[in-house]
Amino acid sequence: MTVYVLCFALFLVGVYGVLTKRDLIKIILSTGIMGYSANLFLILFAYKKGAVYPILSKGEEIKAMVDPLPQALVLTSIVIELGITAMLVALAIKLYEKYKTFDITKIRRLSG
């Protein structure tokens, strides 16, 4: 259970970064931290004590294996995160070209 709590604490560090930082780059890094902890939580939840990875190998009898389903879901999630990071970086670069700053309190027209 302590492992789950620590993983959630990592998520909250990401939330802290999004809420209090005024730098676009650090906000992108904070969303990355939140993504890492969400992925890790799914895999923590699927671990079975004493089990091995879910890949059969030649000449070995089937032992206890961990759950392959969350691993499959997280595999797609990691790649999507990479695409999202690329898109956020592109947005930040465009904002920098227009306003010449990464400081979100100075990017006035977005706040309405």
Partner: protein, 184 residues
């Protein structure tokens, strides 16, 4: 040592690393220190018996580092006040986040304990996966056979994200276009 002890060590290391990465003044050092978290996740995947994910997470880390450094490291960077909000609001934010963590502990107590998951669907996959799909890697058999719709959706989302990034980067502001027209 049991797996849980290793994980506690790696997770506390990752929390310290993420706080350091967010609080550092130098942006290049900040981008590099976020690697502590990513590589820690990769090592945790190895301990949790997920080698597929460890490979992909490691590559993700390298790729994200290259993208961020190429995009941001050489730009002029003005470090200003660290926090977006004033002093009182900053402390209230931190107190609320800590309170959320403390309040959520009973929720985690209600979950199945670590190392003893509910495996109703997984048992079917583990028993019949190799015979029904012919794939020795059961993760691949789930991704590309049992749950291929998930992968199709993933491909679509990735395609859309990349398309969005290309559109954002290639679009030019009206002012630039006007200047070009005047030049012609």
């Amino acid at each position: 040592m049991p797996v849980e002890t290793w994980l506690l060590f790696i997770l506390s290391y990752m929390i310290v690393g993420s706080i350091v990465a967010l609080e550092l003044k130098n942006i290049l050092a900040s981008i590099v220190s976020i690697g502590i978290v990513g590589l820690g996740v990769s090592i945790s995947f190895l301990f949790l018996q997920a080698p597929d994910l460890a490979i992909v997470q490691f590559l993700f880390e390298i790729f994200a580092l290259i993208i961020l450094v190429r995009a941001f490291a050489k730009r002029e960077y003005h470090e200003e006040k660290a926090a977006r909000v004033s002093g009182v609001m900053y402390f209230i934010t931190v107190i609320v986040l800590v309170a959320v963590l403390v309040v959520s502990i009973p929720v985690f107590r209600a979950l199945p304990p670590f190392g003893d998951p509910i495996m109703w669907v997984a048992n079917y996959y583990l028993k019949n996966g190799a015979a029904e799909t012919g794939s020795a890697n059961l993760v691949t058999s789930v991704i590309l056979d049992y749950r291929a719709y998930d992968t199709l959706g993933e491909v679509t989302v990735l395609f859309t994200a990349i398309l969005g990034a290309l559109t954002i980067l290639k679009v030019r502001s009206k002012k630039e276009e006007r200047e070009e027209d005047e030049d012609e």
